[in-house]
C-alpha cells in the first residue's frame, strides 16, 4: 500500500533535489553555506564509518524515548480522563511542562542525573508525551452520546466504558498523536544529545558544525529526516493494522 503510493512523494523529493542541485551553482552559493545534494550524497556514503556509531546511538535513544514517552503520554491521558478531578487539576500543569526551555532544564537535569541515559530520556519523553496526551484526551471525550448511553444502560462500569467504548473510539486520535510524537522523538533525541553526550547524530552535527563542515551537517540532517520518516511510516503501518473496521466511511471520500 505504502509502497504503491510512495512513488509520488519520492518523485517530488527527487524534483526538489534536482532544483536544489541546479540552483546552488547557478546562484554561486558556496559549499560551506549550502552544499548540493550530490555533495551531501557523496559525503553520506564516504563517511558512513564515521557516523554509523552515532546513528545507531540516536536510533536506540529515540526509540527508547518514544516508547517510554508515548506510554507515559497514554497513561497520563487515561488517568486524567478517568479521574475528572485529576484532569482539572493537572491539565494546566501539562501545558506548563511544555514550556520549560531545555536551556534551563539542561543544567538541572545534568546536575541531578549526571551524564547518563536518564536526563536524555527525560527530554525526549517531555517532547513526546504531550501531543499524545492531548490527542488521546480529546479522543476519549468525543465518543458518541448514543453509544455511551447504551453502554451505561447496559450497566457498564467506568472501566468497561473506557475499554470497550472510549478507548477504541479514541484510537484514530491516539494514532494522530503517536504520529506527531514519533516525528518529534528523533528531534528530541538530537536535542537531548546536545545536553552532553559522547555519541549520537546530535554530537556528530555539533562537531561538524563547529569545524565549519557544512556538508557533514547536512548529512546529519539527512539522517534525522530519514529516521523520522521511518518512525512515521512504522506508526502508519501499525495504524493500518489496528484500525481495520474503517474500510468504508470517510476514508474514500472521493466524491
Amino acid at each position: 500500500m505504502i509502497m504503491r503510493k510512495g512513488w509520488r512523494p519520492v518523485l517530488v523529493l527527487i524534483l526538489l533535489l534536482i532544483i536544489w542541485q541546479v540552483l546552488v551553482p547557478l546562484f554561486e552559493v558556496p559549499e560551506w553555506l549550502l552544499p548540493t545534494p550530490y555533495q551531501i550524497g557523496v559525503e553520506a556514503i564516504n563517511s558512513w564509518p564515521n557516523y554509523s556509531g552515532h546513528l545507531f546511538a540516536t536510533i536506540r535513544l529515540s526509540i527508547l524515548g518514544f516508547l517510554i514517552g508515548s506510554s507515559i503520554g497514554l497513561g497520563v491521558a487515561i488517568i486524567l480522563h478517568l479521574v475528572p478531578k485529576l484532569r482539572e487539576t493537572f491539565y494546566p500543569l501539562l501545558i506548563l511542562s511544555q514550556n520549560i526551555p531545555i536551556i534551563v532544564l539542561a543544567p538541572l537535569l545534568v546536575i541531578w542525573f549526571g551524564f547518563g541515559l536518564l536526563p536524555k530520556l527525560i527530554i525526549i519523553i517531555l517532547v513526546c508525551f504531550f501531543p499524545i496526551t492531548i490527542a488521546a484526551l480529546d479522543g476519549f471525550r468525543q465518543t458518541s452520546g448514543e453509544l455511551l448511553h447504551y453502554m451505561k444502560m447496559a450497566g457498564a462500569d467506568r472501566r468497561q466504558i473506557f475499554w470497550k467504548l472510549e478507548w477504541p473510539h479514541a484510537m484514530p486520535s491516539i494514532f494522530s498523536g503517536l504520529k506527531i510524537a514519533a516525528t518529534y522523538s528523533v528531534m528530541g533525541a538530537v536535542i537531548s544529545e546536545w545536553l552532553g553526550a559522547q555519541e549520537g547524530i546530535g554530537v556528530y552535527m555539533t562537531l561538524a558544525s563547529s569545524s565549519f563542515r557544512t556538508t557533514q551537517v547536512f548529512v546529519a540532517i539527512l539522517l534525522i529526516m530519514c529516521l523520522s520518516m521511518l518512525f512515521f511510516a512504522a506508526i502508519v503501518l501499525l495504524e493500518k493494522r489496528v484500525i481495520r473496521w474503517k474500510t468504508s466511511g470517510g476514508g474514500n471520500s472521493n466524491g
Binding site: 536551556i103 546536575i111 545536553l195 552532553g196
Partner: protein, 318 residues
C-alpha cells in the same frame, strides 16, 4: 566515581586503581584543548593516577557543571568566571591555557574596516551581551569614536561566515579557529585584536578551572591533574604537528586541515611570554574585573584572590 567506591570488583588491571575524573570542555573540541587530548593520549593522566573522561558541555554549560561537582574540571574563560564568582558560583581558575587574549573584531577585507574608528556607521553582529558594547566602546574610545554610532545586532547561533554574508559588517572571533578557517578558505580578514587597543582587555581565555570544594578536600588530585595538563600543553608547544595529529585522531569528526593550521598558529601562544605554562597574574584578574565593574557589567567587585590560583602548577620545569 562509582567504581572507585568498590575497588577490585572487576578490575583485573595491573598497577594501582585509577581515579576517575571528568573534564568538561567549554565548546566542541578544538585546538584550545589540544593539551588535554595529548595528556590523555600520551598517558600523562594515567601517570598521575587519573582516568579522565573528556565531555562536551552541551546546553548545560561548563561553569555550572564544575561548580556543582558533576565534572571535577572544566574549561572556562576569565570573563565568565568573573561574572560567575560575583554570583557566588564557587569556581576557581587554576591555569591559563593561553597567555594572551587571541580574540578580536574581524571583518572581511572588502568591508574596509581597518581600525576601531571605522566601526562607526557599521553593523556589529554579536550575541547580545552587555560586555560586547562595553568592549567596543572601550577600544573605540581610544580613537575618539562613539560606540553609539555602531549598529549592534544579535546574530544568535549564526556563525561568523554566515553573518557577514548579510547585514553584518564585523563580529568578535577567536583568531585561532575562525580566523584560521578564513585563511584556509582564502577569505581575507581585517582583524583588530583586543590586546592591541587596551591592556585591560588582555584577559585569560580560555582557562582551566575547578571548584572550591575539590581544592579544599582533594588538592592532590587537582595538583596531579594540572601537572598532566601542563605536560600535555608543553608537548603541544614543542610538537605542534604531532599534537594536531593526536587531536585529529581523538576527534575524527574535526576538519584535519583546520586543526593542523590552527595548531601551528596557536602552539606558540599557549605559554607565550609567561615564565611557565598556565601562570596567571593578579594584575590581569584585577584589571579586567575593575574594568567590568566600571562598565556596569558586575553587580559588585570581584574578590580577585579567590578567583584564581597558581598553587597547583607544577613546580619544576620539564
Amino acid at each position: 566515581t562509582e567504581e572507585a567506591e568498590n575497588p577490585g570488583s572487576d578490575v583485573a588491571n595491573e598497577q594501582q586503581e585509577l581515579q576517575e575524573v571528568t573534564m568538561v570542555l567549554d565548546w566542541t573540541p578544538n585546538t584550545n584543548h589540544t593539551g588535554l587530548y595529548v595528556a590523555q593520549q600520551k598517558g600523562y593522566f594515567e601517570e598521575q593516577g587519573l582516568d579522565v573522561e573528556i565531555i562536551l558541555p552541551g546546553e548545560a554549560g561548563a561553569n555550572q557543571l564544575v561548580a556543582s561537582n558533576q565534572a571535577e574540571f572544566g574549561i572556562g574563560a576569565q570573563e565568565s568566571l568573573t561574572e560567575a564568582r560575583v554570583q557566588d558560583i564557587p569556581i576557581v581558575s587554576i591555569a591559563a591555557l593561553i597567555q594572551h587574549n587571541t580574540s578580536g573584531f574581524a571583518s572581511p577585507k572588502d568591508k574596509g574596516i581597518e581600525s576601531p574608528s571605522d566601526y562607526e556607521g557599521k553593523t556589529y553582529g554579536g550575541w547580545g551581551a552587555p560586555v560586547e558594547k562595553a568592549v567596543l566602546g572601550s577600544i573605540m574610545e581610544q580613537e575618539a569614536a562613539d560606540v553609539e554610532n555602531v549598529d549592534i545586532v544579535n546574530i544568535g547561533n549564526s556563525d561568523f561566515f554566515t553573518a557577514v554574508e548579510r547585514d553584518i559588517d564585523f563580529a568578535w572571533i577567536y583568531y585561532g579557529w575562525t580566523g584560521i578557517e578564513a585563511e584556509l578558505r582564502g577569505d581575507e580578514l581585517n582583524m583588530q585584536y583586543l590586546t592591541d587597543y587596551s591592556d585591560k582587555l588582555d584577559y585569560y581565555t580560555p582557562i582551566l578551572m575547578t571548584n572550591e570544594n575539590l581544592i579544599a578536600e582533594d588538592p592532590e588530585t587537582v595538583r596531579a591533574f594540572t601537572k598532566a595538563v601542563s605536560q600535555g600543553y608543553e608537548f603541544a608547544i614543542d610538537e605542534p604537528e604531532q599534537a594536531a595529529e593526536i587531536l585529529i585522531e581523538a576527534v575524527p569528526d574535526l576538519d584535519p586541515e583546520l586543526v593542523k593550521a590552527s595548531q601551528e598558529w596557536l602552539s606558540p601562544k599557549y605559554q607565550d611570554d609567561a615564565a611557565k605554562f598556565g601562570e596567571q597574574q593578579e594584575q590581569v584578574w584585577a584589571d579586567y574585573a575593575a574594568w567590568m565593574f566600571d562598565n556596569g557589567l558586575l553587580d559588585e567587585e570581584l574578590d580577585v584572590e579567590q578567583a584564581y590560583t597558581n598553587e597547583f602548577l607544577p613546580e619544576e620545569e620539564n
